[in-house]
């Protein structure tokens, strides 16, 4: 029971990181400023690296190897939230998603540092140092674009339209109670509270207003229900791999 719950947690974290890292890598070479292109790519690489680590832990727990898990599963086996599946859109959409998602990450790792599963606690500690840069980056951008007449409206729209998806990050997993009881993870509710306070604090330094958090979250991802965007993303990602999944590439 406990192992299944831990696996569920690892799968959802890994799938989130993989899918968002993949999405964000689409900007590489096409970003708005060279320096930002580089920074955004690094953060995408961090995410792919984090997903690899979580899949590796799963592998140690008896699941298949990371490449097979990542490159051969169908969409309905993925446990990522729906927010990460959406196409990159314009840079405002990608930045707001980065702001919402990476703050959730930062606090998730903060909570997981105290996990009773040592392997997870160690990974979380390591990744929080990466995450710290991610939120520095997000803060700098929100302050810039949230205080310029050119961009305030665009950013506000993305916040308003993104909030329901962002709240879907915190959709409780079916076995979450086990995790809380066993001291593995303190749960999505606690996480979302911390997240909310950070989001509020950063937005208060801008001309942007807090989006309506009473909006109903867009859930489903944690149960394998996804948008039509996910399967094509996975097909694209595995196009070469699936020519011969047994081969060494």
């Amino acid at each position: 029971m406990k192992n299944e719950a831990i696996k569920e947690l690892l799968y959802k974290m890994a799938d989130d990181q993989l899918v968002l890292g993949h999405r964000n890598s689409e900007w590489n070479g096409l970003g708005p400023i060279l320096e930002e292109d580089i920074a955004f790519s690094s953060m995408a690489q961090d995410k792919i690296g984090q997903s690899l680590e979580f899949y590796s832990i799963l592998n140690e727990m008896g699941e298949k190897d990371p490449d097979t898990i990542a490159f051969t599963r169908k969409a309905d086996k993925f446990k990522c939230c729906q927010y990460v599946e959406h196409p990159i859109g314009e840079y405002d959409f990608s930045l707001v998603r980065h702001f919402f998602f990476d703050y959730a990450d930062y606090h998730r790792f903060e909570l997981l540092k105290n996990s009773k599963v040592e392997r997870i606690a160690m990974a979380a500690k390591k990744f929080q140092s990466e995450s710290k840069y991610h939120i520095m980056h997000a803060n700098a951008w929100m302050k810039q674009l949230g205080n310029s007449d050119v961009s305030i409206e665009r950013m506000q729209n993305c916040l308003n339209e993104g909030i329901a998806l962002a709240l879907g990050i915190f959709e409780p997993s079916p076995m979450e109670n086990v995790l809380i009881e066993e001291g593995v993870f303190e749960g999505e509710k606690k996480l979302s509270e911390r997240w909310l306070s950070s989001i509020q604090s950063i937005l208060s330094k801008t001309e942007l207003s807090m989006p309506d958090i009473s909006t109903a979250p867009i859930n489903g991802g944690r149960q394998g229900k996804h948008t039509p965007h996910l399967q094509p993303l996975l097909d694209e990602m595995s196009e070469v791999f699936s020519i011969d999944p047994e081969a060494e590439w």
Binding site: N28, G29, I33, Q45, L52, S151, E236, W249
Partner: protein, 328 residues
Amino acid sequence: MYGGGNSFEDVYDKELKHEDPEQLAEFEARIERGEKIESTDWMPELYRTQLIRMIEQHAHSEIIGSLPEGTWITRAPGFKRKLALMAKVQDEVGHAQLLYAAAETLGKSREDMITDLINGKSKYSNIFNYPAFTWADSCFISWLVDAGAIVNQIANSKGSYAPYCRALERICAEEAFHLKYGHHCVIHLATGSPVQRQMMQEAVNRWWKPMVHFFGPPDKDSVHTRILMKWKVKMASNDECRNQFFDMYVPKIWELGLEIPDPNLKKDPETGIWNYSDPDWSEFKRVINGDGPCNKERLAVRRIAEERGLWVRQALKSPKATYTTPLA
């Protein structure tokens, strides 16, 4: 990544007539002594314009060069390849940033350079106007196009202009990763399943001609660059670079059982010079003048990227901001 030839205009000594002979002598003596020129030193106008032209082309080649490999960035097979290709494409963008900065020290802003690129006024390495049809094409680029670029860049890093040398020092260090990664990919395909092998062989067939073009036309047909070689702007001739590339990499391609589609490719044991078939230099000229398979797409993508980023840059721009030329 950057190729040699065809980056220079005809340059004649008579263009120096208006320069102060004393300053010119001092400048040339400094280069002769092996000292580097820094951005605030006196320099002949011709040195400045030719350097801007060269470094700018190099920078454009990096940013455009990120596109053919970028074609496969979302489809790299497996974690190891996915991470590496992301890091490699990122490095190309990083190299563009470093090189634009080096060119900026000579007085042309990055914006002006990018504008000239997008409006078709500046050139970049011809090879990036060819499409990457399969994953194996991206592997060919990572290994061999980068290998060619390294031959060229290592030569250039011994040039006379300090800011360019500093940028190249950093770039060459990063290229070591590109080269090894690319070789690793090609080794895996060439020694892999029949499907993988065939994929790799087809990529070699497609890319060999552009690869020979990469170093520019033979020296006998090249423009007048004597003075640029004296000033250590152009550091090695096209034929020298091409021959060095053949010397270092043809045996490595052959050892993987891959065939190179040129029956005449052979090293003369007496002279150490490689013979090769005429790779159709008219195609090279056609492509560099805009009529290659991907010229339009490359510039369109770059332009759309700039246009989609326009609001971002406008939002960041403060009315008080003033542009300063980088110092070094």
